[in-house]
């Protein structure tokens, strides 16, 4: 095998310019894929972490049917205290869950005593919410980074439109599920940076204030947001939780709960999928580049070395060994292109990371792009290149191995 590699590498060196050109083409393809994967991956992961870390949580538990009507924030599809207890029981059994936060989501009117507008609010227990949404505090751009009783955190656009500042008093008016209207005076405790996505323009109040506004004697909950230690285990935990909660059914024998990951709750998931699709297409382009360039080079190599093939076949080299010689040559070319591409790709990604390029996404501005490469990305791209290089050299190698020595020796 060592000798086959030696011959293959010497043959590649023999046509140095052609080898350099082909390896460069493969390397450019690899660089392109790696840079795209790292930049798009960085963008995707950053947005996902913004969505899950400052708005939604990694997953949520609702009463069955709530999500279908989530735009209306229905107070009639809440989880009652027994159901909340069951859900909490299931959550506590799962060691992968780091934190959870029960929320009451409701819509109401917001008045600064001069003007009135509508507002969507989350009633939360501050400690639980901050643990579940670790990036929420960073979105509070004015005021104390906390949600206190008797205070309200309002979205930036609303504050600007209603000319409300931190420390101002406002009134929140809401209708409860029985149809009665109630209002409560609250102090503006903070201004929240608006974010793109569901809940990105919602305000926050303490859950106990919410109970008061909605005149809720028995606490009911709209949703329970959950944060995991390891985001990679999202689907496994969601499936486990769904299965566990699935045993609780109502009188019609229908499940009481539904579990949703961020993917089903945020429209960004479609953008994330589109990025994945684009990555796939880029990889297919890489496969095409490698396949065509390797096949082209190997067909030329076989054509130029017909007499040489005839000679080695005449002196008794078995067809399998001739096949191996050419396949190893294609393999070596693939490895060369992959190694060069990986090295340059890693350097480019490192430079991009150092450059701290910023971008805007929806209402969020100045997001810093920090592209990184996983070892698995490099391995996947390398394996693709090498497998395709071997496949690309297979047809010319088969042609060489099947050549009749007498015909090959006559070739001029």
């Amino acid at each position: 095998m060592r000798n086959l590699f030696k011959i293959a590498i010497r043959n590649l060196m023999r046509y140095r310019r052609r080898t350099i050109l082909t390896a460069s083409l493969i390397a450019i393809g690899v660089i392109f894929v790696l840079v795209f994967v790292s930049v798009s991956g960085s963008f995707k992961n950053m947005i996902i972490s913004q969505i899950t870390g400052s708005m939604l949580g990694d997953m949520e538990i609702h009463r069955k049917g709530y999500v279908a009507s989530i735009d209306n924030l229905p107070l009639t599809l809440m989880l009652n205290s027994q159901q909340v207890e069951k859900a909490q029981g299931a959550i506590k059994k799962i060691p992968e869950i780091e934190a959870y936060s029960p929320r009451i989501k409701f819509g109401g009117l917001f008045s600064n005593f001069v003007e009135t507008t509508n507002i969507r609010l989350n009633g939360v227990y501050p400690d639980m919410e901050m643990k579940t949404l670790p990036l929420l505090a960073s979105r509070i751009i004015e005021g104390e980074k906390a949600i206190k009783k008797g205070e309200i955190i309002i979205p930036e656009l609303l504050a600007r439109g209603m000319k409300v500042k931190v420390g101002d008093m406002i009134v929140v008016i809401a209708t409860n599920k029985d149809g009665s209207v109630n209002g409560k005076q609250l102090k503006v405790g903070g201004i929240l940076e608006s974010a793109t996505g569901p809940g990105g323009r919602d305000g926050y109040v303490h859950l106990e204030d919410t109970l008061e506004i909605l005149r809720m004697e028995e606490q009911e909950i709209s949703e329970i947001a959950i944060k995991l230690y390891d985001f990679g285990k999202l689907n496994k935990v969601a499936n486990g939780l769904d299965a566990d909660l699935g045993k609780y059914v109502n009188k019609q024998d229908k499940p009481i709960f539904e579990v949703h990951t961020w993917e089903t709750l945020s429209p960004f998931y479609n953008i994330a999928r589109m990025i994945d699709m684009m990555t796939l297409f880029i990889k297919i382009m890489l496969i095409a580049i490698v396949l065509i360039s390797i096949m082209n080079v190997m067909i030329m190599a076989v054509y130029e070395r017909i007499r040489e093939i005839g000679t080695i076949a005449a002196i008794g080299t078995l067809p399998g060994k001739i096949l191996s010689m050419f396949v190893i040559e294609g393999f070596s070319l693939g490895v060369l292109g992959a190694v060069v591409g990986n090295v340059i790709g890693v350097v480019i990604v490192y430079v991009l990371d150092l450059a701290k390029i910023t971008f805007d996404f929806g209402r969020q501005t100045g997001l810093v792009l920090s592209p990184t490469l996983q070892v698995s990305d490099i391995l996947v791209v390398s394996v693709i290149v090498i497998i395709v290089a071997v496949l690309g050299s297979l047809q010319p190698a088969l042609k060489a191995s099947r050549m009749e020595p007498i015909v090959a020796l006559r070739h001029v």
Partner: protein
């Protein structure tokens, strides 16, 4: 029993719709350690006959035994194995592998065909390098040596596996007369040293006289046999 026994072998080639008979019922016997030449003008069937003896092609009719084996029944793989064990080749254009050094070119059949051990390979290659006078050039590549030197390397490569038979198709055609004569002398010496049968084809009248047995071919027919210093047969 002879090393080669040919009984009425013919070879037809199909060129478009025309069948061309390149060899017409040739019969001959060649003994081990012979130094034989097939002579005749271009198109007389010399190369065809060498290709058949070398198991690179199969006769259309007749029986051909090489080293006691009926080679006309071999498949592609069996032919390759048989050639690797029993036959060495010397080509008109030397056909050395350009990416291998002189040493590696001679070593190639031992390495890639016979899978010999590194120790055996080195011993055998060095011995043949000495025999053909190419020890000094062992690390040079084919494009760094002369035509005569290339053919000496080709002789060494043909002999390195200790074959029963070496076939050389016009081995001196690309060499000047002096070098051609030296190559033929080298082949004869190798025959004496290793007791290997050498069969070569040529149309060079000055080289023809060096063969000990001469088969004369004309238009695909074996028309005569001459023994050096002996009787002639029509």
């Amino acid at each position: 029993m002879g090393l080669i026994a040919a009984e009425n072998i013919t070879k037809d080639y199909q060129i478009g719709e025309v069948t061309v008979r390149a060899l017409k019922g040739a019969s001959f016997n060649i003994e081990p350690a012979s130094f034989v030449s097939f002579v005749g003008p271009s198109g007389s069937g010399k190369t065809t006959l060498l290709n058949l003896i070398g198991c690179l092609d199969k006769p259309s009719a007749g029986r051909l035994l090489v080293a006691g084996m009926d080679v006309s029944s071999f498949g592609k793989r069996d032919s390759a194995i048989f050639r690797g064990k029993n036959i060495g080749f010397i080509f008109q254009d030397f056909n050395l592998i350009p990416v291998l050094t002189v040493f590696e070119n001679i070593e190639y059949p031992l390495l890639m065909v016979q899978n010999a051990s590194p120790g055996d390979r080195k011993k055998r290659v060095m011995s043949l390098l000495g025999a053909v006078g190419m020890t000094e050039q062992k690390d040079k590549y084919p494009d760094q040596i002369s035509g005569g030197q290339k053919q000496r390397v080709a002789v060494a490569r043909a002999l390195v596996t200790n074959p029963k038979l070496v076939l050389a198709d016009e081995p001196t055609a690309n060499l000047d007369h002096k070098t051609a004569y030296m190559v033929i002398e080298l082949m004869k010496k190798m025959r004496d040293d290793f007791q290997t049968t050498f069969i070569f084809s040529t149309h060079d009248q000055k080289i023809v006289g060096e063969a000990e047995i001469l088969y004369i071919l004309e238009d695909g027919e074996l028309v005569g046999k001459q023994m050096k210093g002996g009787e002639n047969h029509a």
